[in-house]
């Protein structure tokens, strides 16, 4: 009988000892325990009750610690269902920190299978940049990649955090709103990296940037143990703060607790900013670039002549057979190779767009590649690496300027929490894209201080047309500004569309924009706009835009702006601008010189 009970008494004793030691050393207050619980202060950000063992564990780090100790000592199952198998990071850390003795032997086969298959050696932070025509994606997306002993990075695994919602099944507006305000649960997932590349690089056509982190094997294992604890656990997803990037920061700190990447952020988290924070914490040891499918096709446009482009499109559309290209004796072999390669990429692009059915595509794709293979190894397509997004300006902009409006001097002060406009330097950004939130500009002149502009949101996508791509360009804004024909700052909304053409020199665009001005009675207008933007080297630019506004009541109004931005350094610029606006009181001209700083 005694022999039967003895293990329980011993178990009770070791648990007792562990609890006493935990209380004496105050480990429940430690930074690492709070990291394990995702507790910035007293409340965990994890919303899933399954993540907690104590009834009030979400808000009580100490109760959760004691409940964890009790569960670890009183395991009733010793397989995958054991507490220690569900929480390997807690178990390992408590065992080490409190010198726990007599923990039961466990067989965590599911976890061990995962570790064996992942073979974790090092970690890379991956950033996918903007998707053309979708400036909302400018904020980018980040996830972590766990690298193995394999030389090929394609065999790594991606740890991703995303909202558990299907954008296909949701109304777009509902989807965005719920995503912004925590209407969806967010989950961590684990997928082979090649699947993520297909998703971001190929389907969404976003360039992928990789930042290898300087974490050693033990640190990586600490991260993996914790990732396992997050399997199937949800937090409410908030686009601005508790988003994909933010949740990666926890994992980095779990791996290396003496870095404080979360401390770099106050109220909103922009994915690229997490890269900046990671670099400031000196965690990045190497960087790599993977061009998107779109970038590749644009590179093919550069090496192909007009005829090659036409042939590539005809091949992809099935109006030209690969044999015709092969048997063209007058044609240079390398040009044939490029033509067929571009055609295969285009055929795949057509499939993704849903422009061709799978069976037709498969035959066409196969015929093109079969022809290409017969031409032997050729030159590798040259793809220029763009400037790394980490060289781009930081998200928040402050501007301080002085100028003259109709001969009267004024000073102005502006602040914009996020993120980028056409006038900001394009280094590290996709040219022609703009997304701004809460851009605020105040002016002080002979009449006193006034709000010049208060943008709620403004989005622009100037997407130049090319041989292979025919995107449309568009622009929308909502907020208070000085655009109306009177001298008041009025609320206006506009959504317009048009076309653009461009090259390495810059781009030009034409837009038609229906607008609504909110006055006491409301004014409708249509603005036609022509714009030109020249890249003048070193990340500086010269932009000119002219517009003609037709008001519904018959009024007409010319507007024009010329702006020169000199990039002084990554986060400093000098702006010179001239504005012309027709007003009911006559033409209004202003000249501004501004210093711009990003942080």
């Amino acid at each position: 009988m005694i022999v039967m009970i003895l293990p329980y008494i011993l178990q009770a004793n070791v648990l007792e000892n562990a609890l006493e030691k935990a209380a004496a050393t105050g480990v429940a207050k430690s930074r690492y325990w709070h990291l394990l619980l995702h507790m910035p202060s007293d409340v965990s950000e994890v919303d899933d009750p399954a993540f907690f063992l104590a009834p009030g564990g979400k808000c009580d780090a100490e109760a959760e610690l004691n409940a964890t100790l009790a569960a670890l000592y009183n395991e009733t199952r010793f397989d995958d269902n054991a507490t220690g198998c569900r929480f390997p990071a807690r178990r390992a850390w408590l065992q080490e920190t409190l010198g726990l003795e007599g923990l039961p032997e466990l067989h965590c086969s599911a976890y061990e299978t995962l570790v064996r298959k992942m073979d974790p050696q090092s970690v890379t932070l991956v950033f996918s940049s903007a998707h053309i025509n979708s400036p909302a994606s400018m904020f980018g997306h980040t996830f972590l990649r766990i690298d193995s002993s394999y030389e090929s990075k394609m065999l790594s695994y991606a740890i991703n955090y995303a909202a558990g919602a299907d954008p296909d099944k949701e109304n777009g507006v509902v989807f965005a709103v719920k995503g912004l305000f925590g209407g969806y649960p967010g989950f961590y997932s684990l997928l082979p990296y090649y699947e993520k590349l297909k998703e971001y690089r190929d389907t969404e056509q976003r360039d992928v940037w990789e930042y290898d982190l300087d974490l050693d094997h033990d640190e990586v294992m600490a991260m993996i143990r914790h990732i396992w604890e997050l399997k199937g656990v949800y937090n409410w997803y908030f686009f601005f703060d508790e988003n994909c990037s933010y949740n990666m920061l926890w994992l980095m700190e779990i791996a290396r607790p003496d870095v404080d990447v979360r401390g770099h952020f106050a109220y909103h988290i922009i994915p690229m900013e997490t890269v900046h924070a990671t670099e400031e914490e000196r965690l990045v040891r190497a960087k790599h670039y993977r061009p998107s499918k779109r970038t590749l096709l644009l590179a093919y446009e550069k090496v192909l002549d007009r005829r090659g482009e036409t042939e590539a499109m005809a091949l992809a559309d099935g109006t030209l057979t690969p044999g015709t290209v092969l048997n063209d004796s007058a044609r240079d072999t390398q040009m044939k190779r490029y033509t067929l390669e571009a055609a295969s990429e285009l055929a795949e692009y057509r499939l993704m767009k849903g422009a061709v059915d799978k069976a037709t595509y498969s035959e066409r794709f196969h015929a093109i590649l079969s022809a290409r293979a017969s031409l032997g190894k050729g030159e590798k397509l040259p793809v220029a690496t763009p400037r790394n997004p980490d060289e781009g300006h930081r998200a928040t902009r402050a501007q301080l300027g002085t100028g003259w409006r109709d001969g009267h001097p004024y000073q102005q002060l502006g602040i914009r929490p996020a993120y980028h406009d056409l006038g900001d330097s394009d280094i590290g950004f996709m040219p022609g894209t703009q997304i701004e939130f809460l851009d605020l500009l105040a002016r002080y002149d002979q009449d006193g201080a006034a709000v010049e502009k208060a943008t709620i949101v403004s989005i622009t996508s100037i997407a130049p047309q090319s041989a292979f791509f025919k995107p449309f360009s568009w622009r929308m804004h909502a907020g208070w500004d000085q655009n109306f024909i009177s001298r008041d700052t009025l609320f206006s909304m506009a959504v317009g569309a048009g076309v653009a053409a461009g090259g390495t020199w810059g781009y030009g665009y034409a837009l038609a924009e229906p607008e609504l001005f909110v006055t006491d009675k409301g004014y409708g207008a249509l603005k036609t706009t022509l714009g030109l933007l020249f890249e003048v080297g070193g990340g500086s630019k010269l932009a000119a835009e002219g517009g003609y506004r037709f008001y519904a009541d018959g009024m007409r109004q010319w507007t024009g702006r010329v702006e020169h931005t000199s990039r002084l350094s990554q986060n400093n610029a000098l702006k010179l601008a001239f504005d012309y606006t027709d007003k009911t009181a006559g033409a209004q001209r202003s000249f501004t010189a501004e210093f711009v700083h990003y942080y």
Binding site: H141, A162, D168, Y194, T203, F239, M352, Y361
Partner: protein, 148 residues
């Protein structure tokens, strides 16, 4: 809305796919790519604000080959998964004469001379990718035959 039918077996094996605004399918043949819906301008404005995912997020450490034909030759699962998931990319690189996916496959098949492997895939392209509806198992099989 074009929905790609995902075979139940593949879902079971995939157990997770996270696609913002796209549908995924790991097939066994060419064209197992994704079909996107055409988005309205409004959708474009809002796209990618939230990173959405259309499936239950779990930990998919395999990308799945169930639903694919059994391979006559005993091959490693990892290679089978990789080829099933990257049929089109591999075909392109085999035709061009090399690339990251071909190198990855060489590594999975424990081929030492990657350059020779890539050259051989290109030379024997038509005996490996025999037709437009070739399947993963045949591709691996044919590679094994060619590499002998």
């Amino acid at each position: 809305m074009k929905k790609v039918l995902v075979s139940l077996a593949a879902v079971a094996a995939l157990s997770s796919a996270a696609f913002a605004g796209v549908n995924s399918q790991t097939g066994c043949g060419l064209g197992a790519m994704i079909i996107k819906d055409d988005s309205s301008a409004l959708m474009l404005a809002l796209q990618a604000t939230t990173n959405g995912t259309s499936a239950n997020q779990t930990f998919g450490i395999t990308s799945g080959t169930s639903g694919c034909k059994r391979m006559p030759l005993v091959m490693n699962d990892r290679a089978a998964e990789f080829v099933a998931s990257n049929m089109d990319q591999l075909a392109k690189e085999a035709a061009i004469g090399g690339g990251e996916s071909v190198d990855t496959l060489a590594e999975l098949l424990k081929v030492d001379d990657k350059a020779a492997f890539a050259a051989s895939l290109q030379q024997n392209y038509n005996s490996i990718y025999t037709s437009g509806d070739v399947k993963m198992a045949d591709v691996l099989d044919n590679i094994a035959t060619v590499e002998g």
